[in-house]
C-alpha cells in the first residue's frame, strides 16, 4: 500500500489535463505508440467530439521511480465544465491528492478555483502545476503569484511543464510520489469499498468503479451493497491500464472495477459502500452529497410507443449520472413523458445526445425552466419546475426565483463588457477585486438568466478568457409572468415559459417569429400567439399551403410513388400532431433559441 498513489487532475477545459494524462500513460508505457490514440482517457464518443470530460474515468499506471521502486499510480479523471462541478467531489473522494493544472498563459480560472477548494476541504494534498510553459506568451511567474493570491497555495516552486512537448513531466511524476501520501486503511479489516462510478454494459450488466478503503474484494466473493442490502457474487475485478485488465483481487488503497452480475440498474448506486456479505463492515463510508438539478425540462417520446424505452434508457443513464433526475409527467400537447432535472443546459444536451446515440431515442425536449417558489393565497409555498403547473394568477401572491452567487474571473480589459452583460442579466454586483492579471467579480444573478446562455455570452464578450463558478444562495421575489404560446387559439402547455415581465413582450415576439420560421406551411392557416393570461402580446401566421399534390404521372411504376410517400410519411411521423397541425420537434426549442442569434 505504501507504493500506491491515488490522485486526480483539476484543470479547466483546454488547460491540458487530458494531454498531461496521455504523457503519464506514455511514460509509464501502458500503451504502445500504436494504441495511443490522442487523449485516451476521454472514452465516450461524445467526450471526444466535444473535447471535454464528462464522466469520471480511471487509469492505473505502473511507474518505476528514479529511486528504483515501482509505484501503482491511479489517476481518476474529473469533469471540467461548470455544469458538472458536483461530480468532481465524487472523483476526489477516491484520492489522497490532486494536481492543480493551470495554463501558464491564461492564468487561474474560476472553476479550477472552486474545485481546488473542494479538494482542500476534503483534506487532499494539492500540487500546483504550471502547464504550457512552451507557449511564447506563458507567464509562469505571474501565474504562480496568482495561485498564491487567489488560492493561498504555496506556488513559488510549482512544477513547470509542457504536457504537449513532455518537458518537466518526468519531474512531476517524482514530485507526485513524494508529496501525495499513500492511502491508509487495512487489508485485514472487513471490506469497505466506495462506489465512485457505475455504468451499464449490455453484456455484463452493471460495472462499478470502486476505491477499496479497507479489506479486499476478490473474484467469487459474496459482496453486499450496503444501502440495498442485496448481495451478489463477484464475477470479475480489475484495473484499467487503460484497457481493462482482469485481476484476482483489489486490496485496500486500490482503485478498479467490479462486475458482480448486477442486472438491475439501481443495483449499485454511486456513493454507496460495498462490503463482504459474510463479514459486514460496521458502517458505510460517507457517500456524496446528492446533487440538486438546477434546470428542469420535459422529455417526451416522439412516438408514444417509446415511453417505456425512454424510461429504461433514463434509468440506465441515471446509474452513472446521479445528477439526472426524472419523474413521469403528462402534457396535454405531448402526452406522457418525463420531467427531468439537469445540472445545466450542457448536461441536458449531453443527456439528449446520449439518448440518441446509445439508445436510438430522439425525444422532444421542452424549454428548460429553473425551480420557482410560488406563494399561494392560502399561504402555501410550492415549488414549480414546470411552468404549466404554476397556480392560476388569481391564487398567486408572489413568485420567487432562485438567485445564485456567481464568481467570475476575467482579464482586466474585458471587465467592462462582463459588467454590461451582468446588468443585462439582472445582476447585482457584490464585489470587485484586482489580482495580478485578473479581476475577480462577484455578482448575484437570477439562476434562470445564468442557465440560459450566460456562460456562452460570457465567453464571447471576453473572447473566451472569462471563467465562471456559481452556487445557489436564496429565493427572491421577482416580477415574473407566465408566457403562454397559443397555436390556433389552443394553449400549448409544452411551450409555456416563465419570464420577467420587463422581457415578456420581447420574448413573446421572438418565440412567435421563430415558431413561424420552424412550422412548415400546411393545409390550414396557423395562428401563433404569445399571451400573458388573456392578453396577446405577439402574433404571427403561417399561411396555408395552396396545394400538395404530385401532378407527375408515374405510369406503371406505382411502387416508386408508394415508397416516396412512405418516406414523406416517416418525415411527418417525426413531427408532433396538435389537433390538425403538425409541429416539428425543433418548435419545442423555440423558447430556448430566444436571444441566441443576436
Amino acid at each position: 500500500m505504501q507504493h500506491i498513489r491515488n490522485f486526480s487532475i483539476i484543470a479547466h477545459i483546454d488547460h491540458g489535463k487530458s494531454t498531461l494524462a496521455d504523457r503519464f500513460i506514455e511514460i509509464c508505457g501502458a500503451l504502445t505508440a500504436r494504441e495511443m490514440a490522442e487523449q485516451v482517457l476521454d472514452s465516450m464518443d461524445l467526450e471526444r467530439e466535444r473535447g471535454i470530460t464528462i464522466k469520471a474515468q480511471s487509469v492505473t499506471l505502473s511507474y518505476r521511480s528514479r529511486g528504483g521502486e515501482t509505484y501503482q499510480l491511479n489517476l481518476i479523471d474529473t469533469p471540467g465544465h461548470v455544469d458538472f462541478s458536483y461530480e468532481v467531489s465524487r472523483s476526489l473522494a477516491a484520492c489522497e491528492g490532486a494536481l492543480l493544472v493551470v495554463d501558464a498563459a491564461q492564468g487561474v480560472e474560476a472553476q479550477s478555483l472552486a474545485n481546488c477548494y473542494i479538494a482542500l476541504e476534503q483534506g487532499l494534498e494539492v500540487i500546483p502545476v504550471l502547464n504550457k510553459i512552451d507557449l511564447p506568451n506563458a507567464e509562469p511567474d505571474r501565474t504562480a503569484a496568482e495561485i498564491e493570491d487567489l488560492i493561498g497555495l504555496e506556488a513559488r516552486d510549482a512544477v513547470r511543464v509542457s504536457a504537449k512537448t513532455g518537458a518537466g513531466v518526468a519531474d512531476l511524476l517524482e514530485i507526485l510520489i513524494q508529496r501525495i501520501p499513500a492511502p491508509t486503511g487495512s487489508a485485514a479489516a472487513p471490506l469497505q469499498a466506495l462506489i465512485v462510478d457505475s455504468w451499464f454494459d449490455n453484456y455484463v450488466g452493471v460495472v462499478s468503479l470502486v476505491r477499496v478503503v479497507n479489506g479486499e474484494i476478490k473474484v467469487g466473493q459474496r459482496i453486499q451493497v450496503m444501502s440495498t442490502g442485496r448481495s451478489h457474487i463477484v464475477d470479475r475485478v480489475g484495473i484499467s491500464v487503460p484497457k481493462p485488465q482482469d485481476l484476482a483481487r483489489l486490496t485496500a488503497g486500490e482503485v478498479g472495477y467490479v462486475i458482480a452480475g448486477i442486472k438491475d440498474v439501481d443495483g449499485a448506486p454511486v456513493g454507496d459502500t460495498i462490503t463482504d456479505a459474510r463479514r459486514l463492515a460496521s458502517s458505510s463510508l460517507p457517500g456524496f452529497k446528492a446533487s440538486k438539478p438546477q434546470v428542469y425540462a420535459g422529455l417526451f417520446p416522439t412516438d408514444s410507443k417509446d415511453f417505456q424505452a425512454l424510461r429504461e434508457a433514463l434509468a440506465k443513464l441515471r446509474l452513472n449520472d446521479s445528477a439526472l433526475h426524472f419523474e413521469p409527467e403528462a402534457s396535454s400537447a405531448l402526452g406522457f413523458g418525463f420531467r427531468c432535472g439537469f445540472l445545466g443546459l450542457l448536461h441536458m444536451e449531453i443527456v439528449q445526445e446520449r439518448l440518441e446515440r446509445e439508445y436510438a431515442l430522439t425525444p422532444i425536449t421542452t424549454a428548460p425552466s429553473v425551480v420557482y417558489e410560488a406563494l399561494s393565497t392560502d399561504g402555501k409555498v410550492s415549488y414549480v419546475a414546470n411552468p404549466a403547473q404554476l397556480p392560476p394568477s388569481n391564487q398567486l401572491v408572489e413568485l420567487r426565483e432562485p438567485i445564485v452567487l456567481a464568481d467570475i474571473l476575467v482579464p482586466e480589459r474585458y471587465v467592462g463588457s462582463v459588467m454590461t452583460l451582468c446588468v443585462e442579466k439582472r445582476g447585482v454586483q457584490k464585489q470587485l477585486q484586482y489580482f495580478a492579471r485578473q479581476v475577480s467579480l462577484r455578482y448575484e444573478l437570477p439562476l434562470s438568466e445564468v442557465v440560459w446562455d450566460f456562460f456562452d455570452r460570457l465567453k464571447s464578450v471576453s473572447r473566451g478568457y472569462a471563467s465562471l463558478d456559481y452556487h445557489f444562495v436564496r429565493y427572491q421575489r421577482a416580477d415574473l409572468v407566465k408566457l403562454d404560446t397559443l397555436i390556433n387559439g389552443e394553449c400549448v402547455d409544452a411551450l409555456s415559459t416563465i419570464v420577467h415581465r420587463d422581457k415578456s413582450h420581447l420574448v413573446g415576439r421572438e418565440v412567435t417569429s421563430s415558431l413561424r420560421a420552424i412550422i412548415p406551411r400546411q393545409m390550414f392557416d396557423i395562428a401563433i400567439q404569445a399571451a400573458i393570461g388573456s392578453q396577446i402580446v405577439a402574433r404571427q401566421t403561417v399561411k396555408a399551403l395552396r396545394k400538395n399534390v404530385t401532378a407527375k404521372c408515374y405510369g406503371g411504376d406505382v411502387t416508386r410513388k408508394r415508397k416516396l410517400l412512405e418516406k414523406q410519411k416517416a418525415g411527418k411521423k417525426r413531427m408532433k400532431r396538435l389537433g390538425k397541425i403538425e409541429i416539428p420537434q425543433e418548435a419545442f426549442h423555440a423558447v430556448l433559441k430566444v436571444g441566441k442569434d443576436q
Binding site: 395552396r546 401532378a551 404521372c553 405510369g555 406503371g556 406505382v558 411502387t559 410519411k569
Partner: protein
C-alpha cells in the same frame, strides 16, 4: 338510432389485414411497350431513356426482343383479352411505322384485342412528319400522345426540348389532320420563369389546334436529373398553385372534363390505358425498364415485374426469363396502398366494389383510415362511391400518406 342509408364509410374498427387475397376474377389487362431512346435527354426527365441519334436506334433487334418478351408474358395470362396497348418512352416515334406495324401485327395475331381496344403511341414534335403520322394511323394506332410541353419558344429552350413552338404547333395540327380517334397534348406548368399568362396561352393553343385530351403536368425536379444538380429558378409555390387553378378553369370552360389529377378530356376521349392504371387493372410491361402488374386468380397473388432497364442488357438476354430484373409478390398492405394511390387520383374516386374486386380484400381494411380522412375533410362518400373532396384533390399527397 334509426337505420340510415348504408354509407361506404361505416363505423367499424380497423380489422387486422387478412393474410390472403380473395380474387373472384382477374381485372382488365393492358399492354405497355417501352421504347427507351430519345434524340436528346431532357434535363428534368427521370424516365428510363437514353440519348441516341434516330438512325442508330436498333429498331429491328429491339422489336424482335419485344416479341420474345411478349411470348414469355403470355404464358401467364392465358386467353385474357387486351383492352389497351400503349407504346411509350423515351420517344417511340423514333421507330419506323414499319417496325411498330410488325409489332402490333404480332400482338393482334397472338392475343384477343377487345373491339374498342385503344392503341396509343407517344410521339415528340421534331421526330414526326405528316407522312409518317398517317402511316402510324394505318398500322392501327388510335390515339396519338404528343410531348409538346409548351408552345412558347423561351420556355422550350429553358427545358431544352429539341423542338420549337412552331414545330410543336405544326405537329399537333398534323396529328389532328391525320385522323386519329384521339389526340393528346402533354403540357407542363411551373416551368422556370413561367407566368400564369404563358401557361394559359399554352392551354389555349392546345385547345385551338384541336387536342381532344390534355395532360397538364407540373414540372417536378427529380433526383438524378441535371435539374436536380443545378436547380433552375422555379415560380414560387403560390404562383404555381394560381397557375394550375387558372389553367384548370380555362380547360373546363373549353369543354374538357377534369377526370384525374393531371388529365383533362373531351367527352369520350378519356385515356383508357391510364384509367386502367388508376382503376388498378393489370398490365404487361414489355421493353427495357417496363413495369408490369398481374393478378393471378388461380394462385391468388398480385405480382409486380420490372424488366432490365439497360437497353443493351435487355437486348442481349438470350433467354426470355432473363429479361426480368424484379419479380415480386405484393402483400395485402402494399396492394391496399397502391390501389389508393392510383384510385384517389380520380376526380370521381371509386366505388367500394371496385376496391374489393381489384384488391381481393374486404373494404373493411380501409374503413378506419377512410373515416380519419373524412374527418379531415379530404374524402367524401355518397352511397357506394368514395371520392376525394376539393381539399383532398389539392392536398392529395397528404391524403395518400394516410394509406401508406
Amino acid at each position: 338510432m334509426p337505420d340510415k342509408q348504408p354509407s361506404a364509410i361505416a363505423r367499424v374498427s380497423v380489422p387486422a389485414l387478412p393474410a390472403a387475397f380473395n380474387f373472384a376474377a382477374a381485372p382488365p389487362l393492358a399492354i405497355y411497350v417501352h421504347i427507351p431512346w430519345c434524340v436528346r435527354k431532357c434535363p428534368y426527365c427521370d424516365f428510363n431513356s437514353y440519348a441516341r441519334p434516330q438512325l442508330s436506334v436498333p429498331e429491328s433487334a429491339y422489336a424482335e426482343q419485344l416479341i420474345v418478351d411478349l411470348e414469355r408474358e403470355l404464358a401467364n395470362t392465358g386467353d385474357r383479352p387486351i383492352m389497351s396497348v400503349f407504346i411509350g418512352g423515351g420517344t417511340p416515334s423514333l421507330f419506323s411505322p414499319c417496325a411498330l406495324g410488325q409489332l402490333l401485327a404480332h400482338i393482334r395475331n397472338r392475343v384477343n384485342l377487345t373491339p374498342d381496344c385503344e392503341i396509343t403511341l407517344e410521339a415528340n414534335p421534331g421526330t414526326v412528319e405528316a407522312r409518317c403520322l398517317s402511316a402510324f394511323r394505318d398500322i392501327g394506332v388510335t390515339r396519338l400522345s404528343l410531348g409538346v410541353q409548351s408552345f412558347d419558344d423561351p420556355q422550350l429552350r429553358q427545358i431544352q426540348r429539341i423542338h420549337n413552338a412552331a414545330e410543336a404547333r405544326v405537329a399537333a395540327e398534323a396529328a389532328i389532320r391525320a385522323g386519329f380517334q384521339s389526340v393528346n397534348v402533354d403540357l407542363m406548368y411551373g416551368l422556370p420563369g413561367q407566368s400564369a399568362g404563358t401557361a394559359l396561352r399554352d392551354v389555349s393553343i392546345a385547345v385551338d389546334v384541336g387536342a381532344t385530351h390534355i395532360s397538364h403536368y407540373q414540372l417536378t425536379i427529380e433526383p438524378g436529373t441535371p435539374f436536380w444538380r443545378r436547380r433552375p429558378l422555379l415560380p414560387d409555390e403560390d404562383a404555381i398553385a394560381d397557375m394550375q387553378g387558372q389553367c384548370e378553369a380555362q380547360l373546363l370552360a373549353a369543354g374538357f372534363r377534369h377526370y384525374e389529377t393531371s388529365a383533362y378530356g373531351q367527352d369520350g376521349h378519356t385515356c383508357r390505358h391510364n384509367l386502367n392504371y388508376w382503376c388498378f387493372g393489370d398490365y404487361l410491361g414489355l421493353g427495357a425498364g417496363a413495369h408490369g402488374k398481374l393478378t393471378d386468380v388461380r394462385t391468388q397473388t398480385v405480382t409486380r415485374t420490372v424488366k432490365h432497364s439497360n437497353p443493351r442488357r435487355y437486348l442481349t438476354s438470350t433467354k426470355a426469363d432473363k429479361l426480368t430484373a424484379v419479380h415480386r409478390h405484393l402483400d395485402p398492405q402494399e396492394v391496399t396502398s397502391e390501389f389508393m394511390i392510383n384510385a384517389l387520383r380520380l376526380v370521381e374516386g371509386f366505388p367500394v366494389s371496385l376496391f374489393e374486386r381489384r384488391t381481393g380484400l374486404p373494404v373493411t381494411v380501409i374503413e378506419g383510415v377512410c373515416k380519419d380522412a373524412q374527418a379531415r375533410g379530404l374524402i367524401e362518400s355518397s352511397g357506394p362511391q368514395i371520392r376525394p373532396t376539393a381539399l383532398g384533390r389539392r392536398f392529395l399527397n397528404d391524403l395518400l400518406m394516410l394509406f401508406v
